[in-house]
């Protein structure tokens, strides 16, 4: 495995040309990009929604998610998702 791109202090932002939005017709959150679309599952949607709305560090993002989801232990899941999303070119560290 290569070194992780994100640490607690990095600020994830959507990659250039990517847009997050709720799609009523699909009944899910999606990521739109030039000539394409990714349908997001619930967890991915919660994370990317926050990334698209607020510039904040990964630590702040995790704190916000914990507050929203009853303090669930989700640190590892968030880091794993961020790396995956970066591999897919959806997000980058600012």
């Amino acid at each position: 495995m290569s070194d992780p791109v994100f640490t607690a202090s990095s600020i994830p932002v959507l990659a250039l040309g990517y847009r997050f939005q709720w799609e009523p017709a699909q009944n899910c959150n999606v990521l739109l990009y030039p000539e394409g679309m990714v349908k997001l599952n619930g967890a991915a949607g919660e994370i990317l929604k926050r990334i698209s709305e607020n510039k904040q560090t990964v630590a702040e993002l995790i704190a916000e998610l914990k507050a929203a989801f009853d303090g669930a232990d989700l640190d590892d899941d968030v880091y794993r998702f961020l790396e995956e999303a970066h591999d897919n070119d959806w997000i980058r560290p600012e």
């Binding site: 250039l16 040309g17 847009r19 939005q21 799609e23 017709a25 699909q26 999606v30 739109l32 990009y33 030039p34 000539e35 394409g36 679309m37 990714v38 349908k39 070119d89």
Partner: protein, 396 residues
């Protein structure tokens, strides 16, 4: 049409649009609005119909906005603003503004001719999501020869303006026999412009390109060389510039999954309001060509003969009907099947299983013969312009 959406297999553009579309869902996720057939360029591989000069009555602003609203309500997320050259529409900013407000991801597919830096900024302000600038070649001489106009320097300026306005720079090069040997120069040009995405699209043989096929089909040895160069740059540019390379389907063993299936995700509206399952389908025989001036988009999408004609697998003949790959490629392209075999329900002859596959081999041979001729013997390219359009459609 100046951009690449005619020039790549549907689904090669990130592809994920296709994944979400199973037979039971069927939403027109991709709306291609061919705003106009007017274009300052004369590319001899244009996918617009040969007789485009006969279609004059363009949709009004309000008619376009109505189409956008209807398609959006049906679940469309991607809007391609294409043509012709969409910049020739004086209401382009208004169309972008309103489409963006509706929630579309708006893609402008342009030659860059007719654009200036102020306009790019205006588009940004209007909420345009993405601009794709097409090039005809990597050198001024060849670019302008193919485009039939002096456009190259301006395109370079526009590519820079796109990037300066905070867009990803997406460049599209449509390759064919006359420019594919420039592959290295094309990629060096893209690097020097700091492009984010480069699409090495391949000419697809519809409309004007079909008419000029003998002069445009690349030869095998050209492809092998170009592909090796493209792959080398893909490696070298990893993490910096994304390079999409599309193999011309004439050299494939299996057909492209055209449009991700007929009437499945793609909806094209022509400048005069005809709804088509793909931008080339206007030329198929037996089409009703329903117009959004008469019928709602929903009714056309769900009920029309045209859109239901090649949905599913019932319409297929052998060898497609019993083929275990039919769900992967849907038998290929209906328009290509018709153009080459005369029967739009036959297998796409690109497929090596097709009974008509020899037609592809014949075409490649004819292209080679043409390539080996001297300049004075060779057939000249026929450029896409109103004069040629009228002449050729009258002689048909």
């Amino acid at each position: 049409m100046t951009g690449s959406d005619q020039n790549k297999a549907a689904g090669s553009t990130g592809g994920t649009l296709g994944l979400s579309s199973h037979n039971d869902i069927r939403q027109p996720l991709w709306l291609l609005a061919e705003l106009t057939y007017a274009c300052p360029l004369q590319c001899p591989y244009c996918s617009n119909p040969m007789d485009y000069a006969n279609f004059k009555k363009e949709l009004t602003t309000e008619e376009w906005l109505d189409v956008f609203r209807q398609a959006r309500a049906m679940g469309a997320t991607q809007l391609g603003l294409s043509g012709g050259e969409p910049l020739t529409r004086p209401d382009l900013v208004e169309l972008i503004t309103e489409a963006r407000k509706m929630g579309f991801y708006t893609n402008l597919i342009t030659s860059g001719v007719g654009m200036d830096a102020a306009k790019v900024a205006e588009f940004k302000e209007a909420g345009l999501d993405h601009i794709q600038v097409s090039f005809q070649a990597s050198s001024e001489d060849l670019n302008d020869l193919i485009a039939g106009t002096d456009a190259f320097k301006h395109k370079i300026e526009m590519a820079k303006a796109v990037k300066a306005n905070g867009y990803p720079m997406v460049l599209c090069f449509v390759t064919h026999r006359q420019n594919i040997d420039q592959m290295e120069d094309i990629l060096e040009l893209a690097i020097s412009l700091e492009a984010d995405y480069v699409e090495l699209a391949t000419t697809q043989y519809y409309g004007w390109a079909m008419h000029n096929r003998d002069q445009l089909l690349p030869m095998k040895e050209q492809l092998v060389k170009a592909e090796a160069i493209a792959h080398r740059y893909q490696e070298e540019q990893k993490g910096k510039m994304k390079i999409y390379y599309v193999v011309p389907d004439y050299y494939e063993e299996r057909p492209k999954a055209c449009m991700n299936g007929w009437g499945n995700v793609f909806l094209t509206i022509t400048p005069d309001g005809v709804a088509l399952p793909c931008h080339a389908a206007r030329e198929l025989p037996g089409m009703d060509l329903p117009n959004i001036r008469d019928v709602s988009v929903k009714e056309i999408w769900e009920e029309s003969n045209d859109f239901n004609r090649f949905r599913g697998y019932e319409w297929m003949k052998e060898p497609c009907r019993s083929c275990d790959e039919k769900e992967k490629d849907f038998g290929g392209c209906r328009c290509q099947a018709y153009m080459l075999t005369g029967d739009p329900a036959s297998a796409d002859p690109v497929c090596s299983k097709s009974f008509d596959h020899h037609l592809i081999e014949d075409a490649l041979k004819r292209g080679r013969l043409e390539a080996e001729k001297t300049v004075t013997e060779a057939k000249p390219l026929v450029f896409r312009n109103p004069k040629n359009s009228k002449k050729l459609s009258a002689s048909e």
